[in-house]
């Protein structure tokens, strides 16, 4: 149980294709992240899985059952909304109990389940409070407990961490990951934050303009982007791209280093790197500059580890290099990844 299969799903809002022929299947118990910029259709896709939005075409299959025309309550899914959507007039206890009571679960069983769910998220002491008396982090836990309390076969999360402050977000991310591992429920998680996606996902689905650009593990997505969109959307700063005939050469900023520091048993490519601006960030230095002739110079960023204390100054040029094995090639027209390594 707990497999979602999306078959040729599209969603049109008027003439706008919010989701465009998406095919996707989750593995059992996996943590799948839908990643993309705002407006890429990831939330719409999640809402169609939940059954809140109806697809214009295609089929939704959950655990081998076609659920395309079923209302959400018959899909055995649970969802956490970006706003948490807690019922403001109910106590935390009643909020968590709501999905059970909606299913006609007997009162004593409801109490046990609510206590179990509250214990899992350590919110037992909040059960008598109203949502407006809770902090952002507590609300998020209540929303998670409410979603988990009836043990759904699929767990849907719509940017559940975006309302938390930066510090809390990091710890909430870690907790969420551990919790999902423990419960083992198939989880689909929507975010526009690549750090969240990389940190949480077993696999990441990168979306843009309603289409899937790439599906892969965080490492595959980062190291072997399927096209220039993925290459520049994932990674901060994004992958550098240089013109090379009908090809674009791509390399990550941390692979673009002073020529002496690059070891390349399979060979290296060296560029004169004209430094324009330096950022010192403690653990690392970001070096901004250009590569190439004045007329068609391209902006390039290098990320140097803090341990590399080599003095650099703006306005000067230095020999920088990339190892051949770190070089990626993309078709200039389509932006798609090209096999093979070239010098």
């Amino acid at each position: 149980m707990g497999c979602v299969e999306i078959r040729g799903i599209s969603k049109l809002f008027g003439n706008v294709r919010a989701v465009d022929h998406v095919d996707l299947a989750t593995n059992e118990g996996e943590f799948l992240v839908l990643l993309g910029p705002s407006g890429c259709g990831k939330t719409t896709l999640l809402r169609m899985i939940a059954g809140i939005e109806e697809p214009t075409e295609g089929d939704m299959v959950i655990d081998g059952r076609v659920v395309t025309n079923l209302p959400p309550r018959l899909r055995d899914i649970a969802m956490v909304f970006q706003s948490y959507a807690l019922y403001p007039h109910m106590t935390v206890y009643k909020n968590i109990a709501f999905p059970l009571r909606a299913r006609g679960v007997e009162k004593e069983a409801v109490r046990k389940k609510v206590e179990w769910a509250a214990g899992m998220f350590k919110i037992e002491r909040l059960l008598d409070r109203k949502p407006r008396e809770l902090s952002g982090g507590e609300r998020q836990r209540v929303a998670l407990a409410r979603a988990m309390v009836r043990e759904p076969s699929v767990f849907l999360l719509d940017e559940p961490l975006s309302n938390l402050d930066a510090l809390l977000r990091t710890s909430a991310r870690e907790e969420l990951r551990q919790f999902q591992r423990r419960v083992g429920v198939t989880t689909i998680y929507v975010t526009h934050d690549q750090v969240e996606a990389m940190g949480l996902g077993d696999r990441i689905v990168v979306m843009s303009q309603g289409r899937i650009r790439q599906i892969g593990t965080p490492m595959e997505i980062y190291l072997w982007p399927a096209d220039t969109f993925v290459a520049t959307f994932v990674g901060s700063p994004p992958m550098n791209l240089l013109d090379h005939g009908d090809t674009l050469l791509g390399f990550r900023p941390e692979t673009f280093l002073p020529a002496d520091a690059v070891e390349g048993s399979e060979g290296v490519v060296t560029y004169p790197f004209e430094v324009t601006y330096l950022e010192y960030l403690g653990a690392e230095r970001l070096v901004y500059g250009t590569v190439g002739e004045k007329s068609h110079a391209r902006h390039v960023v290098s990320r140097l580890p803090g341990s590399l204390t080599l003095p650099l100054a703006a306005g000067k040029a230095y020999p920088f290099a990339v190892a051949l094995r770190d070089l990626r090639r993309f078709d200039k027209k389509s932006g798609l990844y090209k096999e093979g390594v070239s010098s």
């Binding site: 809140i52 309550r73 909304f81 019922y87 403001p88 407006r132 009836r150």
Partner: protein, 317 residues
Amino acid sequence: MSAPSVSEPAAVAARGGILDRESALAKMMIAPAILYIVAMIGVPFVLAVLYSLSDATTGDPSLKFVGLRNFAAALADPVFRLSLWNTVFFTLASQCIVVLLSRLLATALLKNFRGKWLVRFLIMLPWTAPISLGTIGWLWMLDSIFSPIDWVLRYVGLLGVPGALLGAGTNLYYLGVPGLAISSIILVDVWRILPLATVIQLAGLSSIPKDLMEAAEVDGATPWRRTLMITIPLTLPITSIAFLFGVVFTFTDLVVVYVLTRGGPVHMTQVLSSWTFFKGIEGGDLAQGAAISLFMFPVLAAVAILILRMARRTEVV
């Protein structure tokens, strides 16, 4: 060159004067409202209290203190007691119907459909028309001989033929038969308040966040359960406000009864406001009229307090 540039800020400050002093400005802005309340509500209220304790008539408005005699006389009067009961009954009956209908209408108007603006416009129309003109329109609709409602009933065979469901007579005499007259007053009261209540309910319904309803849907609640557990509790404060507003308007209304039945047949539809008018103005007994009207005061004061408390509760949520 430097002299004028130095004196300029000082001049600006002097000119800013009163507009910059917020406390003085606030007093000036609130003054007309206070003046209005004192002149149009405070003075008449004090006069009503004074009259009710006196023996003033339209012929002799001099105030001679007679204690609570007017109140005792009012309570002893069966017409007054009937008016009091009618006022409460008409108000509660009409407002319960209004709450139900306005919720239905608001729910329907929340959906998107063709011609929505037209329906909204038509629903708002009774509110924009002067209440007296609207009621005169109803007077024609409920006419004892030319009522178009009777005409339609006759046309479809429910009235005016032997064995018809509503009788063999040619007319129903809406305003001449006690039960029908009472129903007619309530109907017009409902018609009168429904637009306001619908608008208030619509505001309440659309203030519920959309994802709250979606969350309830995903949580497995059927539409009926969503209404019962989410929509109704969340809109209860604003529904109460709609209800209480309706109570105030209907409780104090004179026009509907005055235009339609003048309290008839035989005082069966008499309400406090109409009885006040007939006694105090047409009958000339200012003191009695004032005493009767003051019986409205405790109810209205209680409703006002409730409205204020409700309003605070909606602010919190």
